[in-house]
Symmetry: C2
Subunit: 278 residues, 2 copies
């Protein structure tokens, strides 16, 4: 099995977790996927801020030493992906969280290859998925271990020419890609789907919104339905591992890579997301 | 740690699963919680029907021999709980399900005590939870490993006098308890919350609907909002381990244990859910 990487559980090399770990039995935990470039975890502060915010919301104790552990593991890795999984820990059956539980901290490092240049230079083709993204204001924004809907959405296509699938909520709003956040330009304004009821508040989404602000571009969080997305001028996708992917095709409709997308890609390159250079 | 039980992974005694198991990384799997009474798994056919239906919907191969394995494990256990966890298996990072993957089958048996008599004789007190249940028509009805919202809802109270918490969808419909399905009598008709957009299609819910039919009582699946639930005549909760719990108190409002509830409890006793005898 390729792409397995090396793993540590609570600081010790390990390949398994307890059957009773609540991450396994109930998806009772969170994770982060961090780009490692030239021996350093990229935007680590933002990742750990989201993780600790999630811990606070879920009442999972945030473990000490994660920053040091990640930096130490990433050192020596030129291009890879670090993954942090944090669960409430192992406990007996039943949803009620036991009072005293030691959380489980799983960290892995997987060597990777840079994404294909073509995705940045020519843009990517995307489709709509039938699988819905869950609406739940209690959990929205967090990167919880409950990713089954993303798995099901990603299983909808095998065509290698399709890079990503867009997911809608049950009430028809376009929320995100299976592994990306969604941005677009409508009426001259930069927009991103609201993630207060569904979806994940991505680290690269945050970075792009901040970089837009630095360009004097206001970015607004909006609701958009599927039909209206065909009317917008520019569409692009973001995540921590890819930076920005411009969309050149939405189902059968072609799009241009627009000037705002190009400008934001250049801004990302300037702050170290060098994959986006075109 | 009490209530841990004995566990088997793919037929072998085991205490752990791979860090790469997609059940752990993505909640990419299903589970069943089965009452074991006098050496036999109760309503096993219904549990395995829901499990195989879920496998079909998720495209996870349904493993051979589960029935035999469960019956063999349950033999000799007078009163306990069997748990079956079925995941897509261990694979490299990424939501896309690898083409060839061997699913992981985890089975456990945990000794248990019968629920307190008082819950049946006097009824239980329930509260409303703030934590929402996710709306997602793609996943609704299945008992997936994504149970974080149930964990968060159950963590909302520690008062031992409250037996269960009711969960609503983001749009305000009352869907279920954290570990139970909801029934009530409104306008003289037996009703249960619709679970086609949210919630789990419980095995005991199915049994009760069938037993109602045998009594000549039609049971309808309806939408009900929180305020309207205070207007109903009888409320009861169901799951595989408890049978029926009559509700005697909803927040601060008292309820009588009604005649329809009592009749259905008696019907359950007659088919082997002896916990419900009052």
């Amino acid at each position: 099995m390729s792409g397995v990487g090396n793993w540590w559980v609570n600081g010790e090399p390990a390949e398994s977790v307890s059957i009773l770990d609540r991450g396994f039995t109930y998806a009772d935990g969170l994770f982060e996927t961090v780009a490692v470039r030239d021996g350093k975890p990229r935007f680590l502060d933002y990742h750990l801020e989201r993780l600790s915010d999630g811990c606070r919301r879920l009442a999972i104790p945030y473990p000490a030493g994660v920053t040091d552990e990640l930096c130490s593991i990433a050192a020596g890795c030129r291009f890879g992906t670090a993954k942090i999984i944090l669960t409430r820990g192992a406990g007996a059956r039943g949803y009620a969280p036991p009072e005293k539980l030691a959380s489980t901290r799983v960290i892995g490092l997987i060597a990777a290859q840079p994404p294909a240049r073509l995705a940045y230079e020519a843009g990517v083709a995307v489709r709509f998925c039938d699988t819905k993204v869950s609406a739940n204001s209690t959990l929205a924004g967090m990167k919880t271990l409950a990713r089954l809907e993303q798995v099901m959405a990603r299983a909808e296509w095998q065509d290698a020419h399709i890079s990503e699938g867009l997911m809608c909520s049950d009430d028809g709003l376009v929320i995100c890609g299976t592994m990306t956040n969604l941005f677009f330009v409508a009426n001259g304004r930069l927009c991103t789907s609201d993630v207060s009821r569904c979806g994940v508040s991505g680290v690269m989404r945050r970075v792009v919104m901040e970089q837009a602000g630095e360009c004097g571009l206001e970015c607004i969080e909006v609701d958009i339905d599927r039909q209206d997305l065909y009317q917008v001028k520019e569409i692009f996708l973001t995540n921590s591992l890819i930076g920005i992917w411009p969309v050149r095709q939405l189902q059968d409709t072609g799009l241009e890579i627009g000037s705002i997308t190009r400008r934001l890609m250049a801004k990302l390159v300037a702050i170290g997301v060098t994959e986006c250079a075109i």
